[in-house]
Symmetry: C2
Subunit: 154 residues, 2 copies
């Protein structure tokens, strides 16, 4: 169990964290550069949630890097409890943000046809930001499950 791929302080864990932070930052960047995103609550919430995910994952990536460099064990029960709570909270918020943005994007494209009626609306960018958010969530959920699994035997 202790040799599980992706545990904190391992190369797998570092890769997961870097991936989460990268996709979350990409989602924020793409959404922020889309004209008129601020008129839609779901897209503002996506930026807030992905911003939080970026900070959390970047912080843990730094911690993983430190643990690898100085060969420290950071998979202690107290730290794991902290990681598991943080991971679950950020993963749930990210999924909610990605799903609600996806709901709004599909509405714009298929139901009320805003994308066709208002060609100035950057629907492609909204879609791309949502896709990045789902990728970030997938990696974040993987981390959250690994943390929960590592914590269960304690």
């Amino acid at each position: 169990m202790a040799a599980m791929a992706g545990k904190p302080g391992s190369w797998g864990g570092l890769a997961l964290r870097v991936g989460q932070a990268f996709f979350a930052a990409a989602s924020v960047g793409v959404m922020f550069s889309s004209l008129g995103f601020a008129s839609y609550t779901a897209f503002c919430y996506l930026i807030a949630s992905m911003g939080l995910q970026t900070m959390w994952s970047f912080g843990l990536a730094c911690l993983d890097g430190y643990a690898i460099k100085f060969n420290k064990n950071i998979a202690t029960p107290i730290l794991l409890s902290l990681f598991v709570v943080g991971d679950w909270v950020t993963a749930i918020l990210s999924f909610a943000a990605a799903s609600s943005s996806a709901g709004v994007v599909i509405l714009f494209q298929k139901d009320v046809l805003f994308c066709r009626r208002y060609p100035q609306l950057p629907c492609g960018r909204f879609e791309l930001a949502t896709a990045f958010a789902f990728l970030s969530w997938a990696l974040s959920a993987t981390s959250a499950l690994i943390m929960f699994w590592l914590l269960a035997p304690f």
Copy 2:
């Protein structure tokens, strides 16, 4: 660990399942009785996902009732693996459905003001169905976490 509240075949487990099935069925009922829901993809998806949740939870409620009545142990590793997969799939689908509906409802009410411009749109019902979906998801997520926790030591 084996005496954990909410495990399959206990009164707690039965109560969780009945609650999930009740709120999911209520969500389907309220949404189905809302005029014009079929024009919006997110609301159709909510009905599909909550329908699945109702069937799954109702089936497991029957199984829990059977186990309580005949005093059987259904918390075996094989059955738990089955429950954990089913619970996680339904919980994730329910959360995605509830979040995307919430995204669309907030858009209608605050961003594009459809609720004010088209008073025939039953925004109150859309809201109520979404709230029921979130309640059903909360109970479903509780079950999923309990199953995962029970399965972890095996």
